[in-house]
Amino acid sequence: MSNLLDLEVKKIVETPPEEIERVKNWINTEEYKEKNFARQALVINPAHACQPLGAQLAAHGFEGTLPFVHGSQGCASYYRSTLNRHFREPAPAVSDSMTEDGAVFGGQNNLHEGLENAFAIYKPKMIAVFTSCMPEVIGDDLTAFIKNAKQKKCVPAELPTPYANTPSFNGTHIHGYDSMLVSILQTLTEGKKVEGRCTGKLNLIPGCDFNTGDYREYKRLLKEMGVPVTVLADISDTFDSPCDGSYHIYAGGTKLEDAADSINGKATITVGPYASPKTFTWVKDNFSGKHVSMPMPMGIAKTDDFLMKVADLFGKEIPATIKNERGRAVDAITDAHQYMHGKKFAVYGDPDYLMGYVSFLLEMGAIPHHILCSRGTKKIEKELQALLDGSMYGNGCKIYMNKDLWHLRSLLVTDPVDGVIGDSHGKFAARDANVPLFRFGFPVFDRVNKHRYPLVGYQGVVNMVTEICNKFIDIKDETCEDQQFELMR
């Protein structure tokens, strides 16, 4: 009998029910939590994906752009299906299907054949190339490969072919987003800087944001302000396209000429500082006009900051319509504050989202009790801590860097909260802790249309408050004693 492990052949033993019961209780204990937090090597239920996913998102934000994965084909299928599931939209992307021989000979032949085919079949205006693990491990030289591809006329020399090294064993999807975005901007703006020219426009970098509603909200607010904008990169029409009986492979994205001219902009603001550090550094050195890095405008105060900054940069007044909008959002939160005040939350997600959740909760008098970042740095930890220090509702809140959702589970069962804010993957921990999960992050696989509801701006505040408060009220209605069940809440 084969048994390559040299373990002895045994009779099947069913685990006794009392042993199951013991372990079931044990995993909810402090003792288990300590053991769990002592993990050195094993990661369980991480709240982050790998770089190329973010790179693909950035590529989708440009007109006529075909994302191109240099690496194994399975990688491309994974990124595509993840985006499909979150947005419930197509996510066309190709790969050059590297296999064993690629590992031996390098991936140049695959890349060249892939570029030629992809260009002929899908007729893109730009092909954005990024890598998965294999070419990164074997050390493929993308610069040379792409140069050679153009020499061989696999694609026309004038076709923009930005490329980014996005190794999955480094950083997360937000870093891949950054690398791809900076490469696209470098490619498109090359030679486009005109001394003395100013487009008069704002370049807005939203960061690795998977909420199409946010992009629309930025554009609406800026239109209201009378500030023309180029969004770098605009995924809103790509991932929120009409169903009208026809399929358009490139449904949206920032016009390439607008992106090219962005180098002559009046100002550039990134509102996704953690997802665009490389891009922003490069923009600062190369783009005309002023450059501002500020947090995502989630919550009233951060939205105020954003709008005032835009007004300041463009010498505009914030119009009465927006001021009224602010007033209505504040009306909504003062009306609803009692349902959130003092409620404890656990929050997790990408750094830019996290900063937003925490600011918003503190504004509401809610307590961001556990703050967990799957992949973070000292910088984000410091910035989060500063937010907490600035509010009495931040007292005693703790930040957990580089922890996963199995750590989160231990936190939820040993030190309970009233609600969790994060992505769909938190649903298991939230269920075990019997608390609601508010799906504001990425990905959301198990609810419909969430990506259409902005989290940024005053409208974002109304959306978040409405969802959270009504859920707490639902829970009260569903769980209260009959004599406590009443018409008004």
Binding site: A49, C50, S81, S97, F169
Partner: protein, 481 residues
């Protein structure tokens, strides 16, 4: 197998070939030459594959295929509920395949089932210095935190093979130290041409490390069988297993839906292997046949016609006791199924469906559509082999298009020409076709529904197909202005 050759009005070998030629006309010559043998009109009479298959994907065409890791983790290992499955390498692969196949599990998560995402989350230093040490540490941590896990699988992602780590030796050492089976599976995504090699590698791994390492505690009976290639998508196994039990059989193990490691390990003592997904698990059926003399039979649990044929074929391998029970089961369910058909067929009769799924359903579900009065006007696989296409030929109407690993462009072109009333494929295709106004069901995952297997499944299947095709929302796609 259907005995008479069916045709679809308006579809001839010539019309299908013209459609294929048209689709390929945009391709560069080299790609066209590579793709042409993978697309052909069905030759139903031959009972043979009309297309080439299991070849490298043409770069840049937008294939729906995944990789060997996907076939190993997503298909074979993932559904085994009482094991910790470690995605060994960078974080992505495990994260993308976490909970997305809908292989349902019983038990308590984190206690007796491990429907979670375990990864070594490789960093740059692991690539440079190797990940073996990290693997050893994490295996101990997993055993410590999940003491009721019956074993651990180590599923290699691309970098592991490229940097030359020796997971097999780490597994062997740790298995001894921790006294649990630790199964190394060298299923790096760059191996082979599709998910298919991942299935094969996983089957070989089961052969080398698992089968024969356990024995059932209870005495054997002549009715002991194993259900192979049933992954419990949307609860399929919770329909098929009770059905087989109703027929008087003891289902000793399910491979691998809601599966248990030790029962899989003891499967070498059953009397018959019943295989549903031939593509992903025929290898182990053949191994068990050669090594342990266990015969196997391929069955189809989609739709009452195929279920009836399958159960009778199964009964032929047993005594009168089973034969009687099978007839009683058929007699019990036939009228119920007839009721379902009477409800839905009037709304679905003559509707056309196109399929593109993995390695089984493009042929196995055709009968279920036909039970509802529908015609299959095109079918193909992501990762099938010649033996799958041989089995497909008689199931499809003559001259309808067969496509192997089609690009999104080809699939879209065919749909544009054939104007099906329904497409059954995957998530990457779903929204493309829905934008075109074509009703769609995800046929890998049952589109968040299920089960679709067995009698219980047909009721759900019929409802879902009707819902997809006849939803009034489709009437609103074209705006009146």
């Amino acid at each position: 197998m259907s005995d008479k050759i069916r045709t679809v009005e308006g579809i001839t070998k010539e019309s299908t070939q013209a459609m294929i030629d048209e689709a390929l006309s945009v391709y560069p010559e080299k790609a066209r030459k590579k793709r042409a043998p993978h697309l052909a009109p069905n030759d139903a009479a031959s009972g043979c594959a009309s297309v080439k298959s299991n070849k490298k994907t043409v770069p840049g065409v937008m294939s729906a295929r995944g990789c060997a890791y996907a076939g190993a983790k997503g298909v074979v290992w993932g559904p085994i509920r009482d094991m910790v499955h470690v995605s060994h390498g960078p974080v992505g692969c495990g994260w993308y395949s976490w909970g997305t196949r809908r292989n349902m599990m019983s038990g308590i998560t984190g206690v007796t089932n491990f429907a979670m995402q375990f990864t070594s989350d490789f960093q740059e230093k692991d690539i440079v210095y190797g990940g073996d040490k990290k693997l050893k540490t994490l295996l101990a941590e997993a055993h410590d935190l999940f003491p009721l896990a019956k074993g651990i699988s180590v599923l290699s992602e691309c970098p592991v093979g490229l940097i030359g780590d020796d997971i097999n030796s780490v597994a062997k050492t740790s298995a001894k130290e921790l006294d649990i089976p630790i199964i190394p599976c060298n299923c790096e995504g760059f191996r082979g041409v599709s998910q298919s090699l991942g299935h094969h590698i996983s089957n070989d791994t089961i052969r080398d490390y698992i089968i024969g390492t356990r024995e059932f505690a209870e005495p054997s009976s002549p009715y002991d069988i194993a259900l192979i290639g049933e992954y419990n998508i949307g609860g399929d196994a919770w329909s098929t297993k009770p059905l087989l039990e109703e027929c008087g059989l003891n289902v000793k193990a399910v491979w691998t839906g809601d599966g248990e490691l030790e029962k899989i390990a003891a499967t070498h003592t059953v009397k018959l292997n019943v295989i549903h997904c031939y593509r992903s698990m025929n290898y182990m059926c053949k191994v068990m046949e050669e090594k342990f003399g266990i015969p196997w039979i391929e069955l189809n649990f989609f739709g009452p016609t195929k279920i009836r044929e399958s159960l009778r074929a199964l009964a032929e391998l047993f005594d009168d006791n089973i034969k009687q029970k099978v007839e009683a089961v058929i007699a019990k369910y036939d009228p119920i199924m007839q009721g379902i058909i009477e409800e839905y067929k009037p709304r679905l009769d003559g509707k056309k469906v196109m399929l593109l799924v993995g390695g089984l359903r493009p042929r196995h579900t055709i009968g279920a559509y036909e039970d509802l009065g529908m015609d299959c006007v095109g079918s193909g696989y992501e990762f099938a082999h010649t033996d799958d296409y041989d089995r497909t030929a008689p199931e499809m109407p003559d001259s309808t298009v067969v496509y192997d690993d089609p690009s999104e462009y080809e699939f879209e072109k065919f749909a544009d020409t054939l104007k099906p009333d329904l497409i059954g494929s995957g998530i990457k295709e779903k929204y493309v076709f829905q934008k075109m106004g074509i009703p769609f069901r995800q046929m890998h995952s049952w589109d968040y529904s299920g089960p679709y297997h067995g009698y219980k499944g047909f009721e759900v299947f019929a409802r879902d197909i009707d819902m997809a095709i006849n939803s009034p929302t489709w009437n609103l796609v074209k705006s009146p202005y």
